[in-house]
């Protein structure tokens, strides 16, 4: 058994990142994610890694991308206003296929909003925040232990698919303290990007070999010389205005995520076997939903939980399958109804969709979810 520790969600994010191999963190102070920067500043030099407090949020993600280009696993963390600022460079990392983990500890918005209040109001920004069509992987943990494990998974997915991965936390989980068991040293599965190390090779840097998920990536200074750009490029890494080449590139970007849906998806269900009502929830809201489910079960309602931990790509297949056996799905989230739109799209024809939202900075309490169950 691993060591059991008392830890905060934001701290677990740093420890998970270190375990996954993060060796550079670039950030800017913002509530409620600041502890991630503080602990990174303390811990990284202890393992020979680097922390840098940049001049702003844009610089932070740019710096993290730069480090990744040089072959070092990197991360940046922020909260709503900072997540808005990072969007342009997030798109850069998607297009140029740079592995990176971006954490958003969500707080209530819009604008400066309520900086220390819980929210899940950035879920659609995670999906569509940067301009242009693009694939996204976004992950939502619901406990301190899950923050640790899913941060490791976020790094692994970003390395495997050469794409930024969004860890969409919320203030509830970021500031939550609870006991968790650390994994046994050496028990974690760590994925590293495929690399090439032949400086003078004439290989096309964005051409894949058969069977590869992504083209191997040469770390700057240690591998092949090549060009990286945020312009649409061909396999040589240089800009192209050809619509055929643009289409080939875009569809490869889209397909590397959609074709590997089964590997990326992550849904946890509870008590769905006999359920006619499911609570759809994710992140911090799960904790209220779980209590509501338990109380409702005691009262004789057949309630289960459908909880995606990978929220983007949206778990369409699993939700569609589950919805066939359900009468009602109650979406509980800390916003005005964001993932609700996806649930309506996927399951709206098979069952009735209810909603328990919270957008005033308060906490979505179990009693409100229970009331919605009892309303019938």
């Amino acid at each position: 058994m691993g060591k059991v520790v008392l830890m905060q969600g934001n701290e677990a994010c740093v420890e998970g990142a270190l375990a996954a191999g993060m060796r550079l963190y670039a950030g800017y102070p913002i509530t409620p994610s600041t502890e991630i920067a503080e602990l990174s500043a303390l811990r990284l030099p202890q393992v020979g890694g680097k922390f840098i407090q940049m001049e702003d949020e844009i610089a932070s993600i740019a710096c993290a991308i730069g480090a990744s280009v040089a072959g070092v696993k990197s991360m940046t963390a922020t909260s709503g206003p900072g997540f808005s600022l990072k969007q342009e460079n997030l798109g850069y990392a998607v297009l140029a296929e740079i592995p990176l983990v971006v954490v958003d500890v969500q707080r209530m918005g819009p604008s400066t909003g309520m900086p220390t209040s819980p929210s899940q109001g950035d879920m659609m920004m995670a999906r569509w925040g940067t301009h242009g069509d693009h694939p996204v992987i976004a992950i939502c943990p619901s406990s301190v232990k899950e923050v640790y494990d899913l941060t490791v998974r976020a790094f692994n997915l970003s390395e495997k698919y050469r794409t930024p991965v969004l860890l969409m936390m919320d203030e509830i989980i970021g500031h939550l303290r609870e006991g968790m068991e650390l994994p046994e040293p050496g028990s974690l599965k760590i994925v590293d990007r495929p690399t090439v190390n032949h400086p003078d090779s004439k290989r096309l840097p964005y051409r894949m070999k058969p069977g590869q998920l992504v083209p191997a990536m040469a770390p700057f200074g240690k591998g092949q010389r090549y060009n990286i750009t945020g312009l649409i490029h061909d396999e040589s890494g240089f800009p192209t205005n050809s619509t055929d080449e643009a289409e080939a590139m875009m569809s490869r970007l889209m397909h590397k995520i959609s074709d590997n849906y089964d590997d990326i998806k992550d849904v946890v269900t509870e008590n769905l076997e006999d359920a006619d009502i499911a609570i759809f929830c994710y992140g911090g809201t799960y904790r209220a939903a779980k209590t509501a489910m338990e109380v409702a079960r005691e009262k004789g309602y057949k309630v289960g939980i459908f909880r995606p931990r990978t929220v983007w790509p949206f778990p369409e297949e699993e939700l569609r399958e589950a919805s066939k056996k359900l009468k009602r799905i109650i979406v509980a989230e800390h916003n005005y109804g964001q993932m609700l739109l996806e649930v309506q799209r996927v399951a709206g024809r098979d069952c009735e969709i209810g909603f328990v939202g919270k957008w005033n900075g308060g906490v979505n309490k179990p009693i409100r979810i229970l009331e919605r169950i009892e309303e019938g």
Partner: protein, 289 residues
């Protein structure tokens, strides 16, 4: 893709730097006839040649705009980033691997408007990267809008009645922000500029070289500055070596540009200081154990 052999020069006048440090298959460049950027790109390549830097260990980082295209033409590890952010990307590359020689090539709008915050903080931090600014006093790529270095009173497509803003002296701005190396070169003063870029790369710390370029297409035409030759002649006649400028009054220097190394000071480079801190932590831990 064009075969390299097809673009080999018929005469010996074309610099052999093209074959050694550029990507001939991506030439000719997109810069307009008479643009100063090609001269400045060559200056950078010549400085690299003179210093004997390794192509595999040298990184060229650019932002967005006319200047940013240089990254695509130079045969190193090159990264064409987002508008204004080249220095921030370069900071990550240098911090991740301080053994790399990181050179940023940027434009005046790129580095001092949208990227101004990164410029002053990299200067303050004294991170060991070299920034070469292709300063043409205008936004060229988008068709001639006024930039932070467009002189007061000059015209641009967004300053149809004359620019009422005051302009930045980018070398002075970097110096004021704490750059340990701040200098100015020009498209006309090739040999001096090569030497200055060389010194900038050799300098252990943040270095900025503000190189006066010429944009006959937009800045020149909008402001009746004549041909590219006329604009380069202006540089020849109006740039004052720093040693001479020191003896001149502010009034005498009005309308002139100072050429040379404006400031060079040695203090601890950022990534060196960080690695020193890591070493200290490891030593303390060993002692405790």
């Amino acid at each position: 893709m064009v075969n390299t052999a097809d673009v080999r020069p018929k005469t010996k006048q074309m610099s052999n730097l093209v074959y050694k440090y550029m990507r001939p298959e991506h030439l000719p460049h997109i810069w307009c006839p008479g643009c100063g950027n090609g001269i400045i790109m060559r200056d950078v390549a010549q400085a690299i040649e003179n210093l004997g830097l390794s192509r595999n260990n040298t990184i060229i980082v650019s932002g967005i705009g006319c200047s940013s295209r240089a990254a695509g033409y130079l045969d190193f590890n090159t990264i064409h980033t987002t508008h204004g952010r080249a220095i921030a990307f370069a900071t990550g590359i240098k911090l991740a691997n301080p053994t790399l020689e990181v050179i940023v090539i940027a434009g005046d709008g790129d580095i001092s408007a949208i990227g101004g915050n990164h410029l002053i903080h990299a200067a303050r931090r004294n991170i060991g990267i070299t920034v070469v600014v292709m300063n043409n006093n205008i936004y060229g790529m988008t068709g001639g809008q006024y930039s932070p270095t467009t002189p007061k009173g000059a015209f641009g497509t967004t300053a149809p009645y004359g620019n009422i803003d005051r302009s930045f002296d980018i070398a002075g701005l970097a110096y004021g922000a704490g750059a340990s190396f701040a200098a100015r070169g020009s498209a006309y003063h090739v040999q001096q500029t090569i030497n200055i870029i060389q010194e900038g790369i050799r300098h252990k710390g943040f270095s900025l070289i503000d190189v006066a370029s010429v944009c006959p297409t937009y800045y020149g035409r909008k402001n009746k500055k004549g041909s590219a030759v006329d604009m380069l002649t202006w540089q020849k006649e109006n740039m004052i070596p720093v040693e001479k400028a020191e003896k001149m009054t502010r009034q005498e220097l009005k309308g002139k540009l100072v050429l040379g190394i404006i400031n060079q000071t040695q203090y601890k480079e950022f990534t060196f200081a960080y690695e020193e801190m890591i070493r200290r932590l490891f030593e303390e831990r060993e002692k405790d154990e």
